[in-house]
Structures are given as C-alpha cells and as structure tokens.
C-alpha cells in the first residue's frame, strides 16, 4: 500500500487536526453523491476506499497501533456509487434493465427497453437513466420529467429530476472555485475575458 500520508497529501508531522481536514476535503471530493450514475463511479469508489484506508491507518498508528481501531470514516464511506436500481421493479424486464445499467452495458439495456410495448413511468425513468449515463443530458431531462409527471409520488423519479434541475450547482468544487463569478455583471465579464486575450504576448 502507498504511504498513507502521501495518499492524504499531508506531511507525516501534520497534526491530527490537519490530517482530519485533508481527509474530509478528499472525502467530499470523491463522495458517492458526486458520481451517481457516472461512468467513472468505480474509479471514484476506488479513490474513496484508498483514502479511507489511509486515514484509518494513520489514526491506528497514532492511537498506539493496538488492536483498537477508531471508527474514523465519519459516515463518508457509506452510500452507494450506483443508484440502487435493483429494488422496486415489479416488472422482470425492468429489473434486468436496471442490472444492465449498473453493469454499464447501455446498448443491451436500451435494446431491451425498446422491446417493452407499454411505456409507463418506470420506462421513462430507466430511459432517462440510460441517457444520463451516456451523457445525453437533454434527453435525460425530458425522460425524467415525463416519469415524474406520470407518477409524481415516486421518490426515485422525484430525486432524479431534482438532480437534473440542480445543474452545475451540486457537485464538488475545490476551495477558491466556488461560483463567486456569478455576481459579476455584464461589463466585468467583458473585461475579464478581455484580460485573457492579451494573455499570451
């Protein structure tokens, strides 16, 4: 295993507080919420595992290295990187489609879904999930909206639509890049992008 300190990006002399802060920042970055139904979710999950192990190793070391292991992860390790597609399907085809989406086999999932004669709310939801995973965000939005309209009581559809409506505001941003530029008026936008133009002389 890599050196736990380099995994967290802190020096071995860092205080407990600094280690914790670095860990929390990384955990925020690779949090499952940021990679829901993302084709790279498995990579994020690996990273998360790595930093959890590193943090556990450091706390273990610092508390004397005995058999005692602090439950350090602070709830971050919980949560799934995939949407829990396996539950809630009454229809056998839909259950198979959900499994295929989880496995990342979008082509087969799409084919299977198109063979379903009756398009109900779940059909639109799954169709939206496939589109989202492919990066076809406009179609994902349309399908999720349709699913929600057909069955407004369903939490799964409502949540998916809420994520779509959130746009770029949800995910992780490194410190210093929080959308401070939003306050800028039209003239300063001009000025700001003008700066770049003589950036390379």
């Amino acid at each position: 295993m890599n050196d736990p300190y380099s995994v967290l990006g802190v020096s071995p002399n860092a205080s407990d507080e600094e280690v914790k802060k670095a860990y929390r920042e990384l955990a925020r970055k690779y949090h499952p919420d940021n990679y829901q139904n993302n084709p790279l979710a498995d990579l994020a999950e690996e990273k998360m595992k790595e930093i959890n192990e590193a943090y556990d190793a450091i706390t273990k070391q610092r508390t004397g290295g005995g058999g005692y292991q602090q439950s350090s992860s602070g709830g971050y390790s919980r949560g799934s990187y995939q949407q829990s597609y396996s539950s809630g399907s009454s229809n056998a085809t839909y259950a198979r489609v959900r499994n295929l989406i989880n496995a990342g086999d979008l082509g087969t999932a799409e084919r299977l879904l198109y063979e379903v004669p009756q398009k109900d709310a779940e059909w639109y939801f799954l169709s939206g999930s496939i589109a989202y995973r492919k990066g076809w965000m406009d179609e994902a939005m349309q399908n999720y909206t349709r699913a929600y309209q057909m069955d407004p009581g369903n939490m799964e559809y409502r949540q998916a639509l809420a994520i779509m409506q959130r746009g770029n505001m949800g995910g992780y941003r490194p410190a210093g890049y929080s959308s401070g530029m939003d306050a800028m008026d039209c003239c300063s936008t001009m000025l700001c992008l003008n700066c770049l133009c003589n950036g390379c002389n």
Binding site: L43, G135, M137, M164, L193, C197, G199
Partner: protein, 288 residues
C-alpha cells in the same frame, strides 16, 4: 467553432499563468517545427488546453527559452517538445484541416474561396498529420460525416447531434487504462459543451439565413436559453467530476481554472451576446 476554452487570467496564480503561456508558446513552436510557417496561425486556446490535458502526469514544468514566432527578436520561456505536445500539435492540424473543409462546404462557391485557398496551402501539413495520427483522423472524418447527415435531415435531437462532435473530441484521448477513461469522459463532455456553445452563438445567424441549427431544431424558433444552459451546466459538472479523478500533476490548477471559471464565464458571455465582441479580438497583440 474554436476558441471557447480559456482560463480566467485574473484568477490564476503567476506560476500557473507562466505554465499556461509556456504551453501556448511551446505548442506554437512545435507546430512550426512540424508543419511549417503557416501552422502557428491556427494555434488557439482550445489546442493549448488539449496540450495541457494530454501532458504526462509525472512530467514537471521545466521551460526552456526559445525564439518567438510572432516576434523573432524576443526570446520566451516555452515548454520543450515532448510526445504529448507533439500529439497535441498533430491533432490540432487534423482538427484545423477538417474545420476548414467544413467552412468550404458551408460557404458555397464564392464565400468559401478564402477557406479553399487556405486548405490548399495546408494540404501537405494535413497529410503529414493524418499519417502521424491515422486513428484520430479517421474518427474525426467519420464523426463529421455523421454530423452533416444529421444536419441534412434536420435532426431535432440536441443530444444526438452534439454526440457526434463529443465523440470526435473524445477520440483525441490516447486510450490507456483508467487515466484514458477519465480523459475520454472529460473530452466527451468538453466536445458536447463546445458544440452547444457554438450552436447558441450561431443561433441568430442561422435563423436569419435559414440554416440548420440544433438549438432551433430542438426548441423551436424561440429557443430556450434556460433549458440549454441547464444541459450545458450538466456537461460542465461531468467535466469537473472527471477532472478530479485524473492525475494532472502541476497542470491541475490551470485545468481547474478553465473548467470551474473559464468555461462558465464564456457560457454566460455566449448567452448574453457579449461573446460576439470578445471572440473577434486577436490572441496575439503586438504591443509590449
């Protein structure tokens, strides 16, 4: 179609700005060395960004000094030639060529004359570039053919048309392991975003000239800035998520600046119309 991908200079640290400028100048020199005196003319922010993305993660920033192409009396710090820079130069040539061919096709017999003349001059350089990255050349050609077929049939799906350009840019990533997957996902959404930004930018012109525009085909003659901005925001979010999973070493702050500040700002400018003025300005300025 190009020039949307730029950093916000005011929010950069000096060392990151130096890195950006040295990459720009290094790519310029690399283009000149590989493809002759005409090639640096087509250098732009987007290609610089591509070079930054393709850089080997473990490689450090060690600029050398070289003579400036625009002003040979000056010596400037620039990144030395490297496989990543050469790949970026080759792919830039291929992209430039196909963009020119696109202009020739779009503008008709007389309007397309300048592009036709340029592409005649550039043909040997393109041939060389296509030999060096045949897979990329094939992918670009294939995607553009698909795109023009969709345009001809007036495709109403925003995602389907954007997908062709997204896959085009995606193929610029050299496929290797998890790092390659991260780059592919990133470039897919960058391509999608560029295509949509460009479509929004051309909206008025296409409406006036009765040409195909994916935004018009999807949302009708009125357009729908809210929905378009939302779907572009999602691509930005996906780019950010992919970026954080990659190993980009010392180039990470520049890439983060572009993704979290530059692109959203350009997007805003495209929507409020100020982009039309901004894009006209030349990259090179002779003062100073």
């Amino acid at each position: 179609m190009f020039g949307y991908v730029r950093p916000v200079r005011g929010e950069m640290k000096c060392k990151d700005f130096d890195l950006y400028r040295a990459t720009y100048c290094g790519l310029c020199r690399c283009l000149r060395r590989r493809y002759g005196l005409l090639a640096p003319m087509f250098l732009n922010f987007d290609f610089t960004f591509l070079a930054l993305l393709l850089w080997e993660p473990e490689e450090r920033f060690t600029p050398c000094r070289g003579r400036c192409h625009a002003n040979p009396l000056l010596k400037k710090p620039m990144c030395p030639d490297s496989p990543a820079l050469e790949l970026a130069a080759d792919e830039s040539m291929v992209l430039t060529w196909w963009k020119l061919r696109d202009a020739v096709r779009d503008e008709g017999l007389w309007g397309g004359l300048p592009a036709r003349a340029l592409s005649a001059l550039l043909r040997p350089a393109y041939r060389k570039a296509a030999r060096r990255c045949p897979d990329f050349d094939r992918a670009v050609r294939g995607c553009l053919e698909e795109l023009s077929a969709l345009e001809r049939e007036n495709c109403p799906s925003l995602d389907r048309t954007a997908d062709t350009f997204a896959r085009l840019l995606q193929s610029a990533a050299p496929a290797r392991g998890p790092e390659g997957r991260v780059l592919e996902q990133f470039l897919y959404h960058l391509g999608r975003w560029i295509y949509l930004a460009d479509a929004r930018d051309d909206l008025e012109e296409d409406r006036a000239r009765g040409r195909y525009n994916p935004v018009l085909a999807r949302f009708g003659p009125g357009g729908d800035d809210g929905a378009l901005a939302l779907t572009m925001d999602h691509s930005l979010a996906q780019m950010g998520a992919a970026l954080q999973l990659g190993e980009f070493g010392c180039r990470m702050p520049v890439l983060e600046n572009v993704v979290y500040l530059g692109l959203p700002l350009v997007q805003r400018a495209v929507f409020d119309g100020s982009w039309a003025q901004i894009k006209k300005q030349k990259i090179w300025r002779s003062d100073r």
